[in-house]
Symmetry: C2
Subunit: 282 residues, 2 copies
Amino acid sequence: MFERVGVIGVGFMGGSFALACKESAFCKVFGVDINPEAIRKGKELGVIDEGSTRIEDLKEFDTQLVVIATPVRTFYSIGKALREILDESCVVSDIGSVKGHLVYALEDFLGPRFVGAHPIAGTEKAGVENVLKGLYRGKKCIITPTERTDREAKKKVVQLWESFGSLVEEMDPYLHDHVFGAVSHLPHAVAFALMETIEALSQNSVDLFKYPGAGFKDFTRIAASDPVMWRDIFLENSNNLDIAIEAFINAFSRLRRLIKEKREDELTQYLRSASYKRKSLD
Amino acid sequence: MFERVGVIGVGFMGGSFALACKESAFCKVFGVDINPEAIRKGKELGVIDEGSTRIEDLKEFDTQLVVIATPVRTFYSIGKALREILDESCVVSDIGSVKGHLVYALEDFLGPRFVGAHPIAGTEKAGVENVLKGLYRGKKCIITPTERTDREAKKKVVQLWESFGSLVEEMDPYLHDHVFGAVSHLPHAVAFALMETIEALSQNSVDLFKYPGAGFKDFTRIAASDPVMWRDIFLENSNNLDIAIEAFINAFSRLRRLIKEKREDELTQYLRSASYKRKSLD
């Protein structure tokens, strides 16, 4: 598959990916990060073999695969830089949470050797010190090839994820953003807004954060996620997210009305249907 | 404290309470439930000692404490029935998630021997078969006495919860509903609405429930909660919940605007503040 891999962005996501490359696919990994501390810690923890704060240094490492693991709004400048640096034969992929137009932008810079990927795994933790061994085992990884994508490059990227124990699934880049705008980006936006709500309601009364029941903590855990990573996801998938937000506000307003107007039977039906659906996911 | 306790409603909450009474306070417990299966299972699992589907049968058990553990909208009729059945000396309490006017209604029926309580513990599971041993250990229990509450009755109820390992805290009944309307009832309403949203968005496209990332499952876990229990909570605390919903819609609309208008700095600030607050809860 790949013997030498470059990972751009040595945080929780990039670090866990680098570790999987080393442990499951026996690759040598070169890490790039603008933060020298991330490189130092990454080497110390054995997450990367070598590293640098300069993307140009990838050139000397002779990589067969470079994976972009930075916040998605940096993909444009990184794609442009990689075009200048990499050999034609080097495959490029990413682990970003937004695909759609970003995949086509990277394809414009890098050509058919770019293969978009999005592993459906993660936590609210950030930083290379929190990397998780085996993060991708048993988890879905969505691959988003286009009609231009090089078959051989795609095959190798799929094999790499399969070597991690991931369940690979192909999806159209734009469909991906519609799906994850709803099931991932919307819940994160809701969780962030919920924290702001409790803060606002605390201004005129007791400190509500003193009473976080178990449900509240679980429910808002994802609001602890990295703000810059999520800012970029929200901005790059803003259209799909806005459609999902609109649908949520409709569903929530209906629930609010049923409660306010004490429409008991319809309310029971609403909650029963939601509860039934959630149970069926386990 | 209490040697003989009656528990009305032998579900997850009432059952876990009954078990705590038996194991931590060495009480004999009589369970009442309209569902004969709950009584049968409760006895079989050793959660209750005796039981009946008829509330009148409590009379013969000679209880010193009766605790109401049914959905909160049933509290009115149960309070009225208990007034006819119980000895004057029997203390009455509850473990409902709504206090405020409900506490005063029960006080009207039962007098100063009623002591409102709300343990901040639970799961999304329902049914006596899911009872949890030690559910209340290390958890807060909010006690909501009024100016009329009998001191001796309150003291005994507090001692009972302390024997379970709970951290007892007193709160005004109306303040309780304001606090938990925000930190508990609002997040549950949001979670139910989120399930409806994903269902609605699935109608015109792929089945979005096929792609539940880890975040989505954690985030919506509370939407699997018992629909009747939550219908009653929402209806009985509708005013506070509506205020919390209004605050949430304001906070969420601001986030939506920042994303739509790509106001990068304010968006970063919004997410950073929410993330920081959530992290500080752990």
